[in-house]
């Protein structure tokens, strides 16, 4: 008997009292979505910027290696998307369009179509996500309703920069992945 059969038949030989799968209520919270989302992102050690704030930051920081898949900011790209993710090793900035954000925790949903390469938001030194302020959801429940039928091979709820507190619980931003996250609300 294969291990598959062994495991499945061991489970089937048990009588476990049947329990119905509970329905999940459509929980929601009061408050302005933009305000709550902004608060959540800064709690996660990211930053929410307006379009003009972003443009000012970008123009003064002098980056030379930039990939932009954002429709609005495509002209900021200095590099095309490579075929091999290993070419992302020295990338300074990636600019991507997010599908929607979740106010309760700042999580932003991205799929293969927005990412180009799955490694992109992790390997880049700085990450910028452009998000339409009308595309904010209240909680994760509404977030998952939105992607119930989505079929992307890879999807990601991204809520902040790479961070760790593994040394004496001191928070350090910029562990292995992106050292910063800026969300541009347009």
């Amino acid at each position: 008997m294969s291990s598959r059969e062994k495991i499945l038949s061991a489970i089937r030989s048990l009588t476990v009292e049947p329990k119905a799968l509970p329905d999940i209520p459509n929980f929601s919270s009061p408050g302005n979505l933009v305000e709550r989302f902004t608060q959540s992102i800064s709690g996660n050690k990211g930053e929410v910027l307006s379009k003009s704030e972003f443009e000012e930051w970008f123009s003064t920081s002098g980056f030379s290696k930039v990939i932009s898949l954002s429709v609005q900011f495509s002209e900021l790209a200095t590099l095309p998307l490579p075929e091999d993710p290993h070419n992302l090793e020295t990338l300074e900035v990636a600019i991507l369009d997010g599908q929607f954000g979740v106010a309760e925790n700042g999580a932003i949903w991205l799929e293969d179509t927005q990412l180009g390469l799955r490694a992109l938001p992790f390997a880049t030194e700085h990450l910028v996500i452009v998000l339409d302020r009308n595309n904010l959801e209240d909680t994760m429940h509404q977030g998952y309703d939105k992607i119930a039928a989505a079929q992307s091979g890879f999807g990601l709820f991204l809520a902040g920069p790479s961070k760790t507190a593994d040394i004496e619980q001191s928070l350090v931003i910029g562990a292995q992945g992106a050292k910063s996250l800026r969300v541009v609300l347009v």
Binding site: S3, I11, H86, F154, A159, Q176
Partner: protein, 452 residues
């Protein structure tokens, strides 16, 4: 060594033990604050527990549904009855790829299977990529906490270690500096790796996808740069529907570290073009635990570590004192099911205060199961000293004369006997506890004087 012996070892460094206790309590406190911001928190716990009840009652069906959908999406599915088979399957995949070096986002499951030493024995270099995991790997230690692997170490120790392994400045203890050094070191490994191994937080039957959560982004750095991703998943990690993730992702990070969510929550449904995803579904004692009705719902655990952060024993004895892959209260009800003899002291490493049960996001009745395991342990082992004292007490309480005499004997004995005899090693209750001063007279004598 038993839990009390190991705990005594941990407590020798009293300053560090105090820091450990306070730091974990701080994390527990953060969990309290963030959970109170969610009015439906208790409802979410109820839902999570209910969803897991449904999963445990239909596990075989959900596993088949998961397999069917994962295969449809181009994921290669393997099944492992035990740790040996799991390790062999991983090695076979590595050998097919001619791969002698892997990056891992070590999971509690691969730790449980002792995958790293197995791979190293077969000539594979294993690089754990979570910062805390890398630190303990450098020290040849297991993690001491399932979410905070290096919580037993101080920055001075890590600074010394990194000076030796990564050639950082001697004496530089700045966490930001040390983290940056690890970043450079680990990124080099990510960009060189052909195969990456991760654990799995949740597998979704409805879609055949699985979800991995991290804050560092190390799991994703590994798998998106490698050609092959091996995901190792305990069979109890299944959830029925994608929307169930809404409940569990709201609970997981808030319970674990008091954050509203982990910064990276990756949903893997199918491999990138030209790449491979393998998933290994592992039993290793889980069906046996499912068969134990009293202990069944320990399989609901989502490995948040909240029960450790709150446990007065864990905080004051350290993760290593449990000598078990999963330490703390949840480990003390999971591990006896794997090896009752080895872990027989763990169900007693608790005050049964119930704090673990109160914080558990999936409402496992941890303290009640600890109590139940104690019954199992004494059934198989018996307790000589306790049996003897119970027999003695039985004799004394049966005879009024014996009761009277023994009372006055005890009062005088406690007054006049040297401490070395009262607090002898057989009396484990005397350790760090003082007996109250014995009363001058018995209650009967007092009553006769004052009330008659």
């Amino acid at each position: 060594m038993t839990h009390p012996e190991n705990a005594a070892e941990f407590l020798k460094d009293s300053q560090k033990a105090k820091w450990h206790d306070e730091t974990l309590w701080f994390v527990r406190d953060k969990r309290d604050k963030v959970s109170k911001g969610i009015p439906e928190w208790e409802q979410l716990r109820e839902l999570a527990s209910g969803i897991k009840d449904n999963v445990l009652a239909n596990l075989a069906g959900y596993l088949e549904e998961f397999e069917r959908n994962a295969k449809k999406n181009g994921i290669i599915v393997h099944w492992a009855a035990d740790s040996e088979e799991h390790n062999r399957l991983v090695l076979e995949i590595l050998q097919q790829q001619n791969c002698t070096s892997v990056v891992t986002r070590k999971s509690i499951l691969t730790e449980e299977c002792h995958l790293n030493p197995y791979l190293e024995k077969h000539g594979v270099e294993v690089v754990d990529t979570d910062l805390g995991e890398r630190i303990v790997q450098f020290l040849n230690q297991p993690p001491s906490h399932i979410v905070l692997p290096a919580i037993h170490l101080k920055k001075g120790e890590i600074s010394e270690l990194f000076h030796e392994k990564l050639h950082t400045e001697k004496g530089n203890e700045d966490p930001a500096y040390l983290t940056q050094a690890a970043r450079v070191h680990l990124r080099e490994k990510f960009f060189a790796a052909k195969v990456a191994i991760t654990g799995v937080n949740f597998g979704i039957a409805e879609t055949g996808e699985f979800v991995v959560c991290t804050n560092e982004g190390n799991a994703d750095m590994g798998v998106h740069l490698a050609d092959v991703h091996i995901a190792c998943m305990g069979i109890e990690k299944i959830l029925p529907r994608r929307k169930d993730l809404g409940v569990f992702l709201r609970l997981l990070a808030r319970s674990a570290t008091g954050q509203p969510i982990t910064n990276y929550n990756s949903h893997f449904r199918s491999p990138s073009p030209g790449k491979e995803i393998h998933i290994i579904l592992v039993d290793n004692g889980r069906t046996a635990q499912l068969a134990r009705e009293k202990f069944r719902n320990s399989l609901k655990c989502i490995r948040c570590g909240a029960c450790m952060n709150t446990c007065p024993i864990y905080r004051r004895s350290g993760g290593f004192s449990y000598n078990s892959t999963v330490p703390g209260p949840i480990g003390s009800i999971l591990s006896p099911g794997l090896d009752l003899k080895k872990h027989s002291s763990l169900p007693f490493a608790s005050t049964l205060c119930g704090s673990c049960t109160d914080v558990c996001p999936v409402k496992i009745n941890i303290h009640e199961q600890l109590y139940e395991w104690r019954q199992e342990v004494t059934k198989t082992k018996g307790e000589f000293a306790k049996g003897l004292s119970m027999k003695l007490a039985n004799g004394i309480f049966k005879s009024p004369l014996a009761y009277k005499i023994s009372g006055s004997v005890m009062r005088n004995a406690l007054k006049s006997l040297p401490n070395s005899l009262i607090y002898h090693p057989l009396n484990s209750w005397g350790k760090n506890r003082n007996l109250p001063d014995p009363p001058k007279e018995s209650f009967q004598q007092w009553y006769r004087k004052n009330r008659s």
